[in-house]
Symmetry: C2
Amino acid sequence: MSVASEPGTVASGDASASYPATDRTVPARMRERTHYDRELVHSILDEAYICHLGFVRDGSPVVLPTLYGRVGETLYVHGSTGARVQRMAGAADPGLQVCLTVTHVDGLVLARSAFHHSLNYRSVVVHGLAHQVTDPDEKRTALDALVDHVVPGRSQDSRPGNDKELAATSVLRLDLAEVSARVRAGGPNDDEEDLALPYWTGVVPLTKGHGAPIPADDLASGIAVPDYLTVL
Amino acid sequence: MSVASEPGTVASGDASASYPATDRTVPARMRERTHYDRELVHSILDEAYICHLGFVRDGSPVVLPTLYGRVGETLYVHGSTGARVQRMAGAADPGLQVCLTVTHVDGLVLARSAFHHSLNYRSVVVHGLAHQVTDPDEKRTALDALVDHVVPGRSQDSRPGNDKELAATSVLRLDLAEVSARVRAGGPNDDEEDLALPYWTGVVPLTKGHGAPIPADDLASGIAVPDYLTVL
C-alpha cells in the first residue's frame, strides 16, 4: 500500500481512511471546517435524500436536485434517458465533468452581531467525471441502490425493473475520489467586545422526521405497513 | 404594461404573475411539473435556509451550499471576500453566470414497482448573472435580508454590521428573471398491470421542525428567549 507523504492525503481509490486533498477540494478559506474522512463523507451522503448535481451546458452552470444511491465508493445518479444531463454524459468522452453536493442544515446560529450569524451544517462536495452505466448488471445494482437509498430494504419488497424499464432509465456513475466534507457545529463566535450586548444568543436546532405513512388510494386491503417503514 | 403573446410568459422584470419561460427554464421532460408562477417561486425560496449555488471555474462546475436572502425580485448571496466565487463575480464583466437552486423534499413515494419510486419535492432553479454589490446602502439592505432569512425579525434584534465588517463581507446580487419551479406531489403512479401486486404502496411524508433554542454558554443571565424564536 502506498503511504502518502502528507497527513490526511492518500492515494485515490485505496481503502485508506481519508480521501486525498486536491486543488479543487482545498477551500480558499475556513480550512478548519474541511474534512476528508471517508466515514464522515459516507454518513453525510447516506443521510440525505437528494443531491444537487452541477454540470456545464453551453458554457453555463446548471444545478438540479437529483436522486442518488451509494455502493461503496461509487455514487449512482438517476435520470430518464430523456433528461439532458444523461444524454450529455452518454455523449461525453471521457465523461461529463460534474460537481455533486449534499447538504444538511442542522441549526440556526444567532450571534449578538449580525455579522456572525451563521448556520450549523454538514456538506459533501464530489468532483469528477460522470459516466453513463451501460452494463445491465451494474444498472440493476444501481437501481436497487437508488431505491434502497430512499427506504433501506425496499428494493427487496417491490417489483424489480423489467427490460423495458431498464432501457428507459439512464444511470450515471460517479466515483468517490475527489471528495471533501465541510462541517460547522457549535455556538456563535461573537467578538469579545460584543459579549455584554443585550441580545439573546445561541443555536436553534433544526429537526427532521417522518409523518405516518399514507397508503395509496388504490392499496388493496390487508396489506400492512411494512416494518422497514415503522423503524424509519 | 406589455402583454406577452403566449400564456404564462411575461416580459422580464415586470410585476406580472409569472416569469417568462426561456430555453433554459423549459425542461426536456416532465413539463407538467414545471411552473413559472411568482408566488409559488417566492414561497419555495422563502421557506428554505440554504441554496445550492453553481458556477464554472476553470471549465468545471462547482456547487456550494450558501446562505441567501430575498428582497422582492432580487436574491442576495452571502460570502466572505476571501471566497473564490465572490472574487470571480467581482472580476467578471458583465457578471458571473450562476445557477441557484433551492429544493424541499416533502415525501418518499413508494410504488409497487421499483421503477416508479420517487420523491415528492418542490424546487426552484434561477439562472442569471451574479453581480458583486458595491453600494454600501444596498449591502446593508442585503445583509439585513440574509439575517432575516434565517430568523424573520432578527436583524432588528442584533448589532448591525460596522464599516469594517461590511468591508470584509462580499454579497452577490442575482435578479429573479430566468426562473422556474418544479413540483411533484401526490401518490405513486403505478402501471395498471401492477395494481394487484402485494406490496405496500403510498407516501411517507417528511417533516421539518425546530428544537428548543440552546442559549450560548456565555449568555448573560436575564435575557429571555425572544418571541420571534418561540413562534418559529
